[in-house]
Amino acid sequence: MAILDSKIPSGPLADKWRKHKIDIKLVNPANKRKYHVVVVGAGLAGASAAASLADLGYQVTCVVFHDSPRRAHSIAAQGGINAAKNYQNDGDSVYRLFYDTIKGGDYRAREANVHRLAEVSVNIIDQCAALGVPFAREYGGLLANRSFGGAQVSRTFYARGQTGQQLLLGAYSSLSRCVGQGTVKLVTEHEMNDLVVVDGHAKGIIARDLKTGKLVRLAADAVILATGGYGNVFNLSTYARGSNTTAIWRAYKRGACFANPCYTQIHPTCIPVSGDYQSKLTLMSESLRNDGRIWVPKNKADVKKAPADIPEADRDYFLERIYPSFGNLAPRDVSSRAAKRMCDEGRGVGETGLGVYLDFADAIQRYGKQAAARANLHDVSPAKILELGEAAVAERYGNLFDIYKEITDESAYKQPMRIYPAVHYTMGGLWVDYNLMSNLPGLFVLGEANFSDHGANRLGASALMQGLADGFFVVPYTIGDYLAGQKPGGRPSIDHAAFAAAEKNVADLVAKLLSIKGKEPVSHYHKRLGKIMWDYCGMSRTKEGLTRAIAEIQALKKEFWSNVNIPGSAESLNQALEKAGRVADFIELGELMCRDALTREESCGGHFREEYQHPDGECKRDDEKFAHVAAWEFQGEGSEPLRNVEPLNYETVKMSVRSYK
């Protein structure tokens, strides 16, 4: 049974991080040079961690499966990044960001971690502005903000609809500086395929060179995984196609606990699926809900009518109706489920009835009139107002409207967007303590790959915040506490038996995959897994469905291992082989997610069990029995994993029914 010591410092909430930084051990500058840290992944968390540790003087190797660290999927985040700067003078504070995040996570996150996140959020904005991230500005030259879901203040910083891109390129520029100076060794197009554990400590990795198939041994004094989320277990999601669970899944199989795997975020505003060939879903940023109004027809009879033919009185702006105080900016889990309920009632729009409208007509009118007034125009024609309004909307969201047009061939300026929820983020991940170290000493996990800060639901614009917080401002301190207890330069040699065993493990797996030579391509199994997961472990879950899903996934696993066909060899670039290894891991992870969802007999945040709901359809938590983190421990192939529990002790906030009404 794993020992889950969260190492949360004692004392008042607001002093914990400050106190902890004083209490933890330091590594002296001359010794830092002797420690080698391997960072896997170069998204916001990985790139910022690698650069920060190199600047501190550690030897750093950064391993990425992409051809360049700038490709990591952090780049696709659109809307923004939260920070408790209170630049808008609207009553924001560290405490309020902390509270909103705890409540948004449906009281299933650790108080101490979330408070620290809110504290360092302000440093992130300073750091990124200094790095030259071109954040949106007011005319006076100071930073602009907008609002995101689950908050009643404007604390989101942004760079058009490409905030993730600009932040990632900021972190990448720091990483590039270090690579250029020779303080970080960058290893691209290598995928981590196993974790090497020596005497119970993570001491290296086995990476596969994707161009040549060569297996590489990297020994380290500590290993950092910043490999992102695992939403592609659903096949269709807003993730990049390459995003995968392999690094964290193989670490799980080496003893790292996997916490709350069933906590999945389904984002309400994505472009609906159009056919079974489809490879990914595209997000329409939450920022659109600052101005767009979400509605469906009041009457089922109207769902096939053109939206313009449905008069105002026959429209149901259901988020504004059900959640008047947050309106269209209700949190993601709440908004997604509401959209699903409308479609379940038969009021969904689009060809298959799985869609709702996101309408900008009011915003175009409002901005048009403001622009006319600013330009001192009188007796303006409705056509001119429309023109001015569309220009104003284009300035805010132009690139999103362009993306929508490319995909659907429709103009969202002229008719409402049609949107539907889609898998977007995973709150679960490897279990970590307050130092972001897993139960395997020496293994640190950052960003979306860990489970720590978002509870059962993540608020918009908080993923970028967490990635950079972990990499720039948390792990550079906390890794020292572990390394100070390790002999400088004492890492094992790559000739150690554990490296040979791990390398053989990977080589055997690759050989086995290539030897099957069945009838179906890898994508066939990924699609089938995705459908099982979406049907039974998606937006709503039941005991019966999850039980069935586990049986179906076990059968799918058997079929995969006997009937997949992977052409080509292991000695050259082989994309089918890469996909196969990832899908094999997704199949196993899918089963664990269903198991986690089955045993969590309550509804919270993104985890909605139909059996546990309030009469109005909202989540019904069971704090008596489930105010804890479920951390699953691998027990060997063919054995059921062990469910360990870390209780969540709330010292400051009172757990209450989450309401956005």
């Binding site: 650069a51 920060s52 500005r137 760079a159 161009k211 061939d409 066939h524």
Partner: protein, 270 residues
């Protein structure tokens, strides 16, 4: 499953694709039929379908680079009918849809052809030269924890907006592929322009442009001869004005480098 987009008549096309097993091996065009395609599928989804068919037969799939499939990661890099990223302006290969083609079309798909971007396999090229240029100077040096309050450095809105226009570069390399000289001037000038327009970027402005341009030349990228195919092929439509801006910066930096007095005491204090 869900369908929001009106379905339309399926089309059939013939692909003429560059196949090359490895960096130093000869390549050739191979034809593959692709039948009954939904015009709403993306170009890469069409390749997925063709590859699934090949894999099921035990043939090696067409290797192509892709990841986010929403035009922001810069991984996809196809030359479709002779144009980097295909027939439309201002989008990446992954945002090209089959509705842009007609039933019966023969579509030629190639990798980028540029000396600094050698072919890895089939349609994949090695673009690590771009990373090397960034490493030479595409940054502002800031140690974490040492930054002043973000609002302590006001940035005029138009400077921030123009910097953002340049900063949008996705590093895909289409500018190089489109240029007859395989010049990387648009890529380099986008980073030089982005950081040089901001007050934060001034301290290293000269060294940045000098080092990045030197690295670009060293890696074998050609010169700019002002035809602006780069901007036309750029999925973010980054303006060639940034090239002119970089040339001015480079010239100024070269003079300052030559005539600026230098301190004898390099490095820190005791």
């Amino acid at each position: 499953m869900v369908a929001s987009i009106p379905s339309s008549t399926p089309i059939s096309i013939t692909l003429r694709v560059w196949r090359q097993a490895g960096p130093n091996q000869p390549g050739r065009f191979v034809e593959y039929p692709a039948k009954n395609l939904n015009p709403n599928m993306s170009f890469l989804e069409m390749l997925d379908v063709v590859n699934d068919g090949l894999e099921a037969k035990g043939e090696e799939p067409i290797a192509f680079a892709h990841d986010c499939r929403e035009g922001i990661c810069g991984t996809c890099s196809l030359v479709i009918n002779g144009k980097p990223h295909g027939p439309h302006r201002g989008i990446a290969s992954c945002q090209t849809y089959m509705r842009s083609f007609n039933d019966g079309d023969v579509i030629v798909v190639e990798p980028y052809r540029a000396k600094p971007f050698p072919v890895v396999r089939d349609l994949i090229t090695d673009r690590s030269a771009f990373d090397a240029i960034q490493q030479a100077g595409g940054f502002i040096t800031v140690r974490p924890g040492s930054a002043p309050d973000a609002n302590a450095i006001p940035v005029p809105k138009d400077a921030a907006d123009l910097a953002m226009d340049a900063a949008q570069c996705i590093g895909c390399g289409a500018c190089v592929a489109a240029c007859k000289n395989a010049s990387a001037m648009l890529f380099v000038s986008a980073k030089v322009g982005h950081l040089g327009l901001l007050p934060q970027g001034q301290a290293e402005r000269d060294s940045r442009v000098l080092n990045m341009v030197a690295k670009m030349d060293e890696l074998g990228f050609g010169n700019c001869t002002n035809q602006y195919e780069c901007s036309a092929a750029c999925p973010k439509l980054i303006s060639h004005d940034f090239i002119a801006r970089m040339n001015r910066d480079y010239l100024g930096a070269t003079f300052r480098q030559a005539f600026k007095p230098k301190s004898n005491a390099a490095g820190g204090g005791a």
